[in-house]
């Protein structure tokens, strides 16, 4: 009974709303969504923008507002929550019909993320960030309207790499600016990162490494990006320099943030303010290895956190189990995946750790389609516990990260992983699984 208001109609917000309504059909559930869509696949946007996923924008929609309403959710689009009074339990909001006030019994904050500090010039035409489906639609419309000659992607992490693939797929000349010496440097260490650099260059992308973009040029439409003293011509720019949690409303309510800048929640997604929960990319998740609250805007955790918030609202006791930071992507046929801690991250977290990389094959060497796979494993010295794993390789390489993720989740040592009975057949693997080989080699040094 009562009214649940959910701020944000993304994966977390809609999961929370759906679960709460399913568990307690009498509950009034209002979802406030700034954009025109709810519940879409944010991770699919680069593939849709690149034409790799064909069809209209509805391809990425998980649940339409109409379907959500049929489930009994009061979805209000283009409606922004401006302020909150946690004592009175009321929200100030602005929607198509103007300003209004809305009372709540329980509030779930799931506003997601926003792009990091935009610079002057970000309002030029041709500048895009990919946060919401509406951003993706705007990008695709721009690509349709404007014959883009040279795209510049700023940021060489997941979204940056995926957008570079998208532009290559569309036949657009592409530059990729990255602050690190190797791409994906947040999760992939240089030995393996070099292979990503090489593959991306081979695809014709101009890599601008160890540089930061510091300005945009243009009158109405962007014409270039300033990088150090230099400039890159670009009539379309993707800002993929990462995101930060949206916390204005939480801060207005007096909710505590963690040192990561994200909203502090307990395992049941309750903030420090009574009646207010938070879920999704805006909250900090406990890291399974370090125990630290971690800002990790990934779809699985947003979905899981939303479900748990919904259960909590319904009075059920579900607990968020923690994160390892497992992630996967690809650049064309090069697969890239990581879980747990890199060596620098492990050391920063106070672990005495070693790491080794091995090269093996994705299939039996003689089997058609076999290609190189590189696995780097991070192991705690003394205990031999596996702390992290990174994989770069051809088709079939990336999925193996889950062998490591499963092992790390269960507290496995390198010896455990080496001993595991992992699958083998010539079309799928060499006799000794590459992850097990990496465990053997890294384990010896630990």
């Amino acid at each position: 009974m009562g009214r649940l208001v959910v701020v944000g109609g993304g994966a977390a917000g809609m999961s929370a709303a759906s679960v709460a309504k399913r568990r307690d059909p009498e509950l009034e559930v209002v979802v406030l969504e700034q954009g025109k869509h709810v519940s879409f696949s944010a991770c699919g946007m680069p593939y849709w923008a690149g034409g790799i996923v064909e069809g209209g924008q509805d391809r990425l929609v998980v649940l339409s507002p109409e379907d959500a309403r049929e489930r009994g959710l009061d979805v209000r689009l283009q409606t922004e929550a401006l302020d909150v009074d946690p004592e009175a339990r009321t929200l100030e909001l602005e929607g198509p019909e103007g300003r209004a006030s809305l009372g709540y019994d329980r509030l779930v904050l799931a506003p997601g993320v926003e792009p990091r500090t935009p610079w002057p010039g970000c309002d030029l035409e041709g500048i895009h960030a990919l946060r919401h489906l509406d951003d993706g639609i705007r990008l695709v419309e721009d690509l349709g309207r404007h014959a883009v000659e040279h795209a510049c992607v700023i940021g060489g992490g997941f979204v940056g790499l995926e957008m570079a693939e998208a532009f290559v797929h569309r036949g657009i000349e592409t530059s990729l600016v990255h602050s690190g010496a190797t791409l994906m440097s947040g999760v992939i260490e240089p030995t393996l990162g070099e292979m990503i650099n090489r593959r991306v260059r081979d695809a014709g992308v101009e890599l601008i490494l160890e540089q930061r973009a510091d300005g945009l040029e243009g009158e109405t439409r962007v014409t270039g990006v300033e990088i150090g003293g230099d400039r890159v011509t670009a009539d379309l720019v993707i800002m993929a320099i990462g995101a930060r949690p949206r916390t204005e409303l939480a801060e207005a309510a007096g909710c505590s943030l963690t040192t990561s800048g994200a909203i502090q929640v307990d395992g049941r997604m309750r903030t420090t303010v009574d009646g207010i929960l938070a879920a999704g990319d805006c909250v900090a998740f406990p890291h399974k290895l370090t125990g630290e609250p971690t800002f990790l805007p990934l779809a699985l955790h947003a979905n899981r956190a939303g479900r748990i918030a919904g259960e909590t609202v319904a009075g059920n006791d579900a607990r968020f189990p923690g994160v390892l930071g497992t992630a996967i992507t690809r650049f064309e046929d090069l697969e890239i995946a990581a879980t747990g801690l890199t060596l620098p991250a492990a050391e920063e977290a106070g672990f005495d750790a070693v790491a080794e990389a091995i090269t093996s094959q994705t299939r039996a060497g003689y089997f058609p389609g076999s290609s190189d796979i590189h696995v780097r494993m991070v192991v705690e010295r003394g205990t031999g516990r596996v702390l992290g794993c990174q994989i770069v390789g051809g088709t079939g390489a990336g999925q193996r990260i889950d062998t490591a993720a499963s092992a790390i989740w269960m507290g496995a040592t390198a010896d455990d992983v080496e001993a595991m009975d992992l699958s083998y057949a010539p079309p799928f693997s060499p006799t000794w699984d590459p992850v097990a080989i990496a465990a053997r080699i890294a384990g010896r040094r630990a």
Copy 2:
């Protein structure tokens, strides 16, 4: 120092020989091999026979006899060990130069397996089993010499299914005879097995289920197979009804066998007779879940056992860690994998278990190339411990078995697997990993 004699030049024998020699370069190492080749990929033979792996027989050779000799191994081909005197530590053998006697300080038995009871007619032309590379070469020569019109594969397990794929790839009409109602019934339960049946039938293979072949017809070359009261025309027959451990020499030496019929060894691959070790497909491996000695002729275990035997000979303390029975194969683009126990096997082993199957997708539903994946998970009632997992699905489905194998190896419960931070990106997975979904559904019932 002294002389190590290894009987059998397959994966286990050559691993044992190589490791022992590497650790103790002074050791004289003699390998007796009945065939003309050592150290080849037995698992690759169906793909080579089918022309999926192109090229000559050397494609499957891991180490040639010449290379082995360069490593200091005294490899004697076409040489059979006939008898052993464990007191005198001598072997009777017959080779190209006739009979001889050979003393040993340590003996490693690694003769592998032989096809199960052959029937009358097995010496007709056109009858093949695939145990040794020489068998594969004979098959490929037969396929080259004789324009095969109709092949009959007897046995619908791993080798049977792989050979059916091979014949389909060669454009040969194929019948497949299997004693169970669904293919792969030893490791895949009927709900998922039905999908294999369907896929194999769709490829044009005539499936003859719940039948046993009981005779072969023909004068010099096979012309048909008798099945129940019926017959199937066939001018080439593959006997893929499983294998049994070769134990004659072990028995002659007085080594104990286990109830599985395979040679009893300890964790260091020592038989019950002093000075005699055994390794590879001929020994029984301890099952990680049941603790029972298990006959499981799979390449990884043969390799691992061989290495361990080599370490033991060299005086090092390596231990065989146990098996789960993890295995993977494919039929064209349908991937099939299993680990741990099926529900019937779990019940037979005394577990109170439940199982559930789920259907999900190999990629995000909207992503090109996404296809169905079916996951069945077996969970112990009460404890919630995962006991087994089976997967059937399109490209990318099979590799996920290692997520489950890793989890089971570490003693994970269904709740653990559901909670794991597994990788997600649209080209690789739906947001919720199919193995995690299966854990959630099966876990609820446990």
